[in-house]
Symmetry: C2
Subunit: 241 residues, 2 copies
């Protein structure tokens, strides 16, 4: 099953953007009369019939709308610090989308070595991962914030907020992410903060906890930043499986 994306959707018809049109009409040789499936990136799948197989702009008539197609029963924000090596963040984003994530928020920690972030590149990866893994909704990928600013902005609100760090802190013992998710399974809005290679600073952890973040660990393994992000996505995915 091959899914296409369109951001140009009218009441009864839609048009694929140039890249998707070329893939559809040139690479996959779909022709007028063929049935295709298209996502809008906002949660709806459209079953359509191609009316114009122009490889520069495929047009299709909408036969059926399926809102909330393949959606998951939670809203997950993964706030993960960029990794030193870009590739690692790119595959984290790809895998997070495969498991199911609603927002990938790049956050810059005090100990982050990388402070630049290619939002557009990650959006491109998220789109192809969404199509590949049959998701109709694309994750939001906001511009980077510092960890402290992200914590400030998420301080209010009803979400279940978790921060995963590696150091021990007697005054705030960490629980396993699995326990915490189970104990709060009524809260479907979840935020998980994952630090950079050098971990969060104690001050960042302190401010997170003051803002209502629950300190969690991801088990006995020492996971790389990108693996910790995937572990968080997988923990939520399996909690609601």
């Amino acid at each position: 099953m091959e899914i296409f994306f369109s951001d140009d959707i009218a009441a009864s018809s839609l048009r694929l953007p140039p890249e998707e049109s070329a893939h559809c009409a040139k690479v996959l040789r779909r022709r007028a009369g063929d049935v295709i499936e298209v996502i809008d990136g906002e949660g709806t799948l459209y079953k359509c019939t191609i009316v114009d197989d122009n490889p520069r702009g495929v047009e299709a008539a909408i036969d059926e709308r399926i809102p909330g197609w393949n959606s998951h029963p939670y809203h997950l924000t993964l706030a993960v610090c960029p990794t030193k090596n870009n590739d690692r963040y790119e595959w984290f984003a790809q895998k997070a989308v495969e498991f199911g994530v609603d927002c990938i928020a790049p956050v810059i920690g005090e100990r982050s070595e990388r402070k630049v972030f290619k939002t557009e590149r990650i959006q491109k990866i998220a789109l192809s991962a969404a199509k590949q893994s049959l998701k109709a909704r694309l994750p939001q990928i906001p511009e980077p914030l510092t960890v402290k600013e992200f914590i400030k902005r998420t301080a209010s609100g009803e979400s279940l907020k978790l921060i995963a760090y590696c150091f021990e802190d007697e005054t705030h013992p960490r629980q396993s992410i699995k326990e915490v998710l189970k104990a709060h399974s009524c809260q479907k809005e979840i935020i998980v903060l994952v630090g950079p290679e050098g971990d969060f600073s104690p001050q960042e952890a302190k401010e997170a906890i003051e803002a209502g973040y629950v300190p969690v660990h991801l088990g006995a393994s020492r996971l790389r930043t990108e693996t910790a992000g995937i572990a968080a996505a997988a923990a939520v995915y399996f909690e609601y499986l």
Copy 2:
């Protein structure tokens, strides 16, 4: 914490292989008298003191042995078909080791496009991932077998055997891997079979089920082969967290 590997361990002293010696003495500038930690790849961590910081062959006196260091309470074999793209299998292996895996068995399915497999390359990746994620035991990485041969060889034995495939089969409805792991939590010896991009053939699935494999699904997402392997590793990891 930096961990080294040695396959040359005597009663009271050990020697690091050339590559590890160079990393220890040249890159990290460890000197005679420094304390280092060394794994034997078989589950034991050695706390040692360097007696000779020769970058071609570091020698250290063993101060303490810790068998079963950072071990996990299960024995997991992930039998995963090679991916078309080698990189994807390489990071699957790296992440599987980070989560905790005891055997990565490459298996060639009837629909596998890639039938060659670089065992040595994956062993190298597994070693560095083990050191990075603080594991004393390296996973076994046997030479590739066909899926059917692997099924034959695992037919007997008490392990909990799972096969994850994507198609629906009324006669053998799939359960979620989470349910099955929970229902069999007494069985600590687990094998999970994951197919190639084109999935297992119905005949492979049939032979697996006849050999005692339980058909499972990994949830609603359509996961890539390497992500399915990671999902299986994460499901077991979190079941025993």
